[in-house]
Amino acid sequence: MPTSNVASSAATEPASRSLWSLGWQRLKRDRVGYVSLWVVVFFMVLGAAVWSGLLARGWDQEVGNPNTAPMWAAQEKLQHTGTSDGMEGATGPIIRLTPAEDPIADMLAAAEHNKSKYQTMEAPKTDALILGSDQRGRSVFEKVLQGTGTSMLVGIFGALLSVALGTVLGAFAGYFGGKTDDFLMWFYSVFTSVPDMLLLLAFAAVAGRGFTTLILVLSFTSWTGVFRLVRAEYMKQRSREYVQAADAIGASHLSRMFVHILPNISHLLLVQFSLLLVGLIKYEVILSFLGFGVGVKQVSWGSILGEVPTELMQGYWWQLLGVVIMMSTLVTAVSMLTDALRDALDPKVK
């Protein structure tokens, strides 16, 4: 009975494994890499939770007194500066606009009558916050969480876009060579000859603030590394025998480029992606520090760090602490994961 024979031997044989699943097996055996992976996953979940509003939704509520230290740290009670209405120098009775002189006196009078429905009770301010509060009295903990979401978003999408851009251009340059390559290489060398920071500043200046801008600006300046790598890989792979075999069986250029070759460099792209993720998160910090970055209603690690130099001089270190902890945890985890991935996905191992 040939059929049963096949079935039984299939059952005893180990399940067939793609290179990806082999890589996954190796990654699981790398303890540091595996832990890092879960840290990164945790951050991604955190980012998604923040982004979907499940977490840190109230980050811009002014829940505490301004610049309160974390509840576990001692802080001298701040002397709140007295306020002045600017009328200290008055020498006689205060003169105001009289209703007769006021063009909207009637509206004001009516509004005064109705204003009670807008009177609100302000919630009492708390001093007991895990990571203290910022200068507007917002919870630093929530703010840092929110910033994590933003930075993850910017990093992930920026890196995706850079990788996509660099891959497509690099694939064309490396695969076709010749004039296509000359042109794309020219494009590349122009971009690499201009300092990144200058491009970044220039693009950021024209595009203003916000996620989309940030992501576009960052990826527009950081595709070059991926391009160089992908181009070199395509030059190498296009003469590989499996590609020639694909040509022999009649696969089109696009099919050879993106169906045959692309999967074979995908592990490199994954590594590039995580390198870029780290790079862009750091770039975002610097851009935001220089004032370009996320919008006013958004907060990112960079925009928080932008407040730090002045705060530090006043002795308010907790925003710095919050950002540094979150950022270094994530970035360390991603870097270690990158190393682990590099080892686990290296096709030379198999």
């Binding site: 300092p195 200046a205 750091k282 760090l305 530090l312 540094v324």
Partner: protein, 313 residues
């Protein structure tokens, strides 16, 4: 060899043209109208027109670009719009401080990173390697801004070990003694970790080559294998990496210069972008672009020099 160099120089022209086009488009498009900065508190259309005429902004874009091309050809970028000084003179003054800091940084960093990298590679997969690798990874994870902000605050302000910032204009040596150490330390803190990791990977890569097996089979000690056979080969990528980072010596480290008040190119560039000082931006960008290309060529020639396999075509 000479032919190769000439051909490479010849190939720089289209790239330079591209850079000029990019800079021109980017800054004429986004750079803003500098006449508003120069016009002062009270604007009159006449005064604005006069300033624009003076800056050549009233000409058509192609005409302005052509002027730019001519400037590059003559290496004369005219007057800075905001400082009203010859750009060449400004840049000549800026380059010294930049090089003083970044040059020192490069040398110290190489001298520190390379031995550490070789050492760690030698003990690869042992405890010291893992510890150094992890320390480097963690050190790399903190934003360079944090290093600078905290470093300046703690080391200069609180501990008073270093001057907070400044520069002596008359003597680079003097500045180097007094003002360079702190930015140098912080620069090292930022760049040492990634470089150690980077160089380590070169050494580890070479250690897996067949010739290492041969060297061992010859009965050479691990030390000779590492420092004679492996290091010489691992230096090849190191030299290329270093050579391709040389243009940024010229540009300087923008953040360090900004925070430590070092009157270098990076600081100047930031200020120029702030003020839409197009002549300065153009000049710095072109300088860096040319430097990038020249140093890339230099890297290739060096490559040839240390790696006998390379043929320059």
């Amino acid at each position: 060899m000479l032919g190769y160099i000439i051909r490479r120089l010849w190939q720089m022209i289209p790239t330079l043209f591209g850079v000029m086009l990019l800079v021109f488009v980017v800054f004429n498009w986004v750079g803003g109208d500098p006449s508003y900065i120069l016009a002062g508190k009270r604007l009159s259309p006449d005064a604005l027109a006069a300033i624009r005429a003076q800056l050549g902004l009233d000409q058509s874009l192609p005409a302005q670009f052509w002027l730019f091309v001519k400037q590059v050809a003559h290496l004369d970028f005219g007057l800075s719009w905001s400082l009203q000084q010859p750009v060449t003179r400004i840049l000549a003054e800026r380059i010294g401080p930049s090089l003083t800091l970044t040059g020192t940084l490069l040398v110290v960093e190489l001298c520190a990173a390379l031995p550490i990298a070789v050492l760690v590679a030698y003990y690869r997969a042992k405890l010291i390697d893992r510890v150094v690798t992890i320390v480097c990874t963690v050190a790399m994870s903190v934003s360079s801004l944090v290093y600078i902000i905290v470093g300046q605050y703690v080391l200069a302000y609180q501990a008073d070990w270093f001057p907070v910032q400044g520069w002596y204009d008359d003597s680079l040596l003097h500045s180097w003694l007094v003002f360079v150490p702190l930015p140098l330390i912080l620069g090292l803190a930022v760049s040492l970790a990634p470089d150690v990791r980077f160089y380590r990977s070169f050494v580890v890569e070479e250690l897996q080559q067949d010739y290492v097996r041969t060297a061992r089979a010859k009965g050479l000690s691990e030390r000779v294998v590492l420092f004679k056979h492996v290091l010489r080969n691992a230096l090849i990528p190191v030299v290329t990496t270093v050579a391709s980072s040389l243009p940024f010596l010229v540009l300087g480290s923008m953040l360090l210069e900004r925070f430590f008040g070092i009157p270098g190119m990076g600081n100047e560039l930031l200020a120029a972008v702030d003020k839409s000082d197009f002549p300065i931006i153009k000049a710095i960008t072109i300088t860096i672009a040319v430097a990038t290309m020249v140093f890339n060529l230099l890297a290739d020639v060096l490559y040839k020099w240390i790696d006998p396999r390379v043929e320059l075509k």
